[in-house]
Amino acid sequence: MTSGPRLFSILRQGAILIASIHTALDDTQLERFRADLIDRIGHDRAKGVIIDVAALDVIDSFATRTLRGVADMARLRGARTVIVGIQPDVAFVIVQLGMDTGSLVTALDLEEGLAHLAAVTGAPIGPGR
């Protein structure tokens, strides 16, 4: 699993974790992503999580459920989650697919996601502020 380009990255910015998915993930890789992210939340004592899914061209039922699961687990570990970068076509299809996304907090892009987390967690974002 260590060879080849990284499938996702989890970077820390202050009390916020920014998790970017770089390419289409299969189910096993998605589960790994979830496990890694939950680990990091505890390890880094994160207050907020941003998941950037802009690179995903398909968010099907499994991916939606996984993202929902991540957000729930993160909440139980004391962190808020915002999903950013859902592509317009993907949003359209998620609705058509009939997936329940009510519990997911989303923002248009990284900037708005960070602003939202700063507002709800009071966590400082980065060294500049």
Binding site: D57, V58, Q87, D89, F92, V93, L97, G98, D100
Partner: protein, 358 residues
């Protein structure tokens, strides 16, 4: 490099000039052993790099002998690599196992099966086929003899060959088709005639009939060589991603707009995941359809089957309860959606999206 950490005071390290001075010497050592200039240059570079990396550890004045030894080692390891490649080369090409002791028996059985298969053709079919294949008579002169056209004879020959393949397989397996649907299905598969395959509902029959499922294996793949057709074997998670990107590609070729591409890829993702989750293996066949323009996707597995298809397609729209198979969602994303499933035999999902329909 560990050497860098252990580097002594700057005075101990050889100057760049000292390293450069080694070049003619190293080149001589390497060139004496390696005739190819480009390779020799590479090896000189590598030697110098190693000497440089180790230079802090080398006693002053010993740089020259160290460089010579290093050059020799570099050349020797090149030879070792080449030698290993040579020794392993046969594995790349020699795929044929040594002749098995039962080969003769198999050849004998093979011959008997061909004889039996030929005997089951009509006299006329057999005569035409043998005249063409064995005696080498061309279709035009055959047509003249039979009072027909060359094209018709060629088509007839194709049908005969398809039958011969089916009869050969039946004779080889010593199998008698259990139902009267078997022969038409096998024939349709053997001739690669997809219209005929749909007419006799070949895919469904293969799910139902063990004999045909086994016999048809060598017939599969006939007539599927058109490039509009993509088959993705499905066994693991990664194949789900492969299947949906293949579908997206075919759909893009058909000319679907981006939103539809995403919808199609998502639907394929859902039905393919079920193969991975519930059946050990299956396949997804993606086909661009003309007149009317669209894309047809068939996901087939030989898994446990779905006992209650209606329930699998039923969900509370907003809660996404259902059976969690993703099938209702996939159905909503496509224009046509059909499931044939038989418990213990497998499931076939056929779905179509038409271009330009909303």
């Amino acid at each position: 490099m560990a050497a860098a950490g252990r580097a002594g005071p700057a005075g101990d390290r050889p100057s760049p000039a000292e390293i450069t001075a080694l070049i003619p010497l190293v080149r001589r050592v390497v060139a004496a052993r390696v005739p190819d200039r480009a390779t020799a240059d590479d090896l000189v570079q590598e030697t110098l790099a190693r000497v440089l990396a180790a230079s802090a550890r080398v006693e002053p004045g010993m740089l020259e002998p160290y460089a010579i030894v290093t050059a020799r080692n570099v050349v020797a390891s090149l030879w070792r690599d080449q030698d290993r490649q040579r020794r392993h080369q046969h594995r790349v090409v020699d795929l044929r196992p040594p002749e098995a002791p039962d080969e003769d028996v198999l050849v004998q059985e093979d011959r008997e099966a061909v004889t039996a298969a030929l005997a089951r053709l009509t006299d006329r079919e057999r005569a035409t086929l043998l005249a063409h294949e064995v005696a080498g008579q061309d279709t035009r002169s055959l047509a003249a003899e039979l009072g027909s056209t060359a094209g018709a004879v060629a088509a007839q020959l194709n049908r005969t060959r398809a039958r011969l393949r089916v009869e050969y397989l039946l004779a080889l397996e010593n199998a008698e088709p259990p139902t009267d649907r078997c022969r038409p299905v096998l024939l349709a598969l053997s001739s690669g005639d997809r219209r005929r395959q749909r007419e006799v509902d070949a895919a469904r029959h293969l799910l139902e009939c063990d004999v045909c499922a086994r016999l048809s294996e060598p017939l599969m793949g006939r007539g599927r060589t058109r490039d509009a057709d993509v088959r993705v074997p499905v066994q693991s998670d990664a194949d789900v991603v492969a299947a949906r990107s293949a579908a997206r590609e075919v759909a893009a070729g058909v000319g679907f707009p981006p939103t539809d591409l995403t919808a199609i890829a998502t639907a394929v993702s859902e039905v393919t995941r079920n193969i991975v989750k519930f059946a050990d293996s299956g396949e997804v066949v993606i086909e661009a359809v003309e007149e009317p323009r669209g894309i047809r996707i068939v996901a087939r597995d030989v898994g446990p089957g779905i006992p209650d298809v209606d329930r699998a397609l039923d969900d509370g729209y907003s809660t996404y309860d259902g059976l969690g198979l993703g099938l209702p969602g996939a159905r909503r994303l496509m224009d046509e959606f059909a499931i044939v499933s038989e418990v213990g035999r497998g499931t076939t999902v056929t779905m179509t999206k038409w271009w330009g329909e909303r």
